[in-house]
Amino acid sequence: MNRRKFLKSTAAVSAGLFAPTLIAQAAPRVVVVGGGFAGASCARALRKADPRIAVTLVEPNATFTACPFSNAVIAGLRELKAQQFTYEKVTADGITLVRTSASAIDAQARSVTLADGTRLAYDRLVLAPGIDIRWDALPGYGESAAERMPHAWKAGEQTLLLRRQLEAMEDGGLVVIAAPPNPFRCPPGPYERASLIAHYLKMRKPRSKLIVLDAKDVFSKQRLFQNAWAELYPGLLEWVSLSKGGKVISVDAATNTLVTDFGRHQAAVVNVIPPQKAGSIADVAGVADRSGWCPIDPATFESKQQAGIHVIGDAAIAGAMPKSAFAANSQAKVCAEVVAALVTGRVPSAPKLINTCYSLVAPDYGITVAGVYRPADGQLADVPGAGGVSPMDAPRATRALEAQYAEAWFRTITGEVFG
């Protein structure tokens, strides 16, 4: 679709929605695809914004398994059950939950086709598909290789697999994590994972070693992580940057080996965090661009490629906002107000968003990055003067408080979405 056609169709959609007859005749229909921190939250916020809206949530899984804190599960500090949530409270809000996946989307006809062939008509569609692994991006790393070298970047069985491998490893073994290039889900995640695995090794298998092979030279909260590693895990955790040869160019699952331009790393346990893209339905819907992610309007989260479809959460290109559960939830609530306004003929107001990411470097050592965002120059941009990371020189008491607040944050956000 060219730009002119796109603008025309946007105008047509808007004209239709603002026509009072349409609003009078039937309840506005909004379909949300994906029941994670973005989708489930958006569905509930839509009902709260206007109970006249008929909201359908399309999600194949009966149980949601949260990624934040799943690194603590890998390190044996937490059980997977603490990460799992069901949709009872979501459906109690009057949301129709469809327990299947979406297989096709017709943006012109405004309908979603489900895996069983059923078609759902919508006035506005919200896509919150999260991420998919790019199985074609790293030679040797396909779905069968992930059974040997878990990614554990979608929480669940993969999380437990990596944990079991660490538990089965003998003291003195080598663990290697391959960290991906930008952009990817949870920018501080690989480094929190490295920290908590290092904590596990220090406590349980102190002769072991952990190497992080990175496809980047800089990463989120880098100085905070590196200062903490020097303090807590000296000689145990080694980070190899891109410019020092850290980029993994292929893997050999048969021998548990990672290959870089500079050598081969055969390890007892290998965690490959591979390159990612928006969940595959984004591509099917025509809202993902060549980067694999979805360009959006920063004020409305409407796709820049397909009118009437909004994209939120990890799948979206959200400017300065990272791909985090907090950001997804922020975006979901803004998007819900926008969509509720559009389907009832109101004009949405300009949004302001927040992100906060807690990371644990040890069970009693938390660090954060925060940001406040607003639409500016077609992007979601940082509000100048706000946000940033925890102070470099904070005392251990502050780190302990941030670790406590991390847990409080998890309880609140999962309560907001599923409770």
Partner: protein, 93 residues
């Protein structure tokens, strides 16, 4: 106090029947639940006096009140935004 009552009245008038959260308020609910029904050790803002919330935010912004993270977040909001958010939280149950 009169200022806060006025703020609440104005907000109630411009917001739709649903009591749409003002800009930024929905994002606050990532850490501060928007409903008293949600049980969490996170600091509760629902039903708190709006003036207390405004005062806390202003002190976080200037650094007068010690903080781990709220100092960094409060700096991203204007006086008007803080007042609208505080009035909205005060009305939630």
């Amino acid at each position: 106090m009169r200022v806060w009552i006025a703020a609440v009245v104005v907000l109630a008038w411009i917001a739709p029947a649903s009591g749409a959260p003002p800009a930024g308020a929905a994002a606050c609910s990532g850490c501060h639940a928007a409903s008293a029904a949600i049980v969490s050790p996170g600091p509760r803002l629902v039903g708190r006096d709006a003036a207390d919330i405004v005062n806390a935010m202003q002190e976080f912004r200037t650094g007068k009140r010690p903080a781990t993270i709220m100092d960094r977040i409060a700096k991203g909001f204007t006086d008007d935004e803080i007042q609208a958010i505080a009035a909205w939280y005060a009305m939630q149950r």
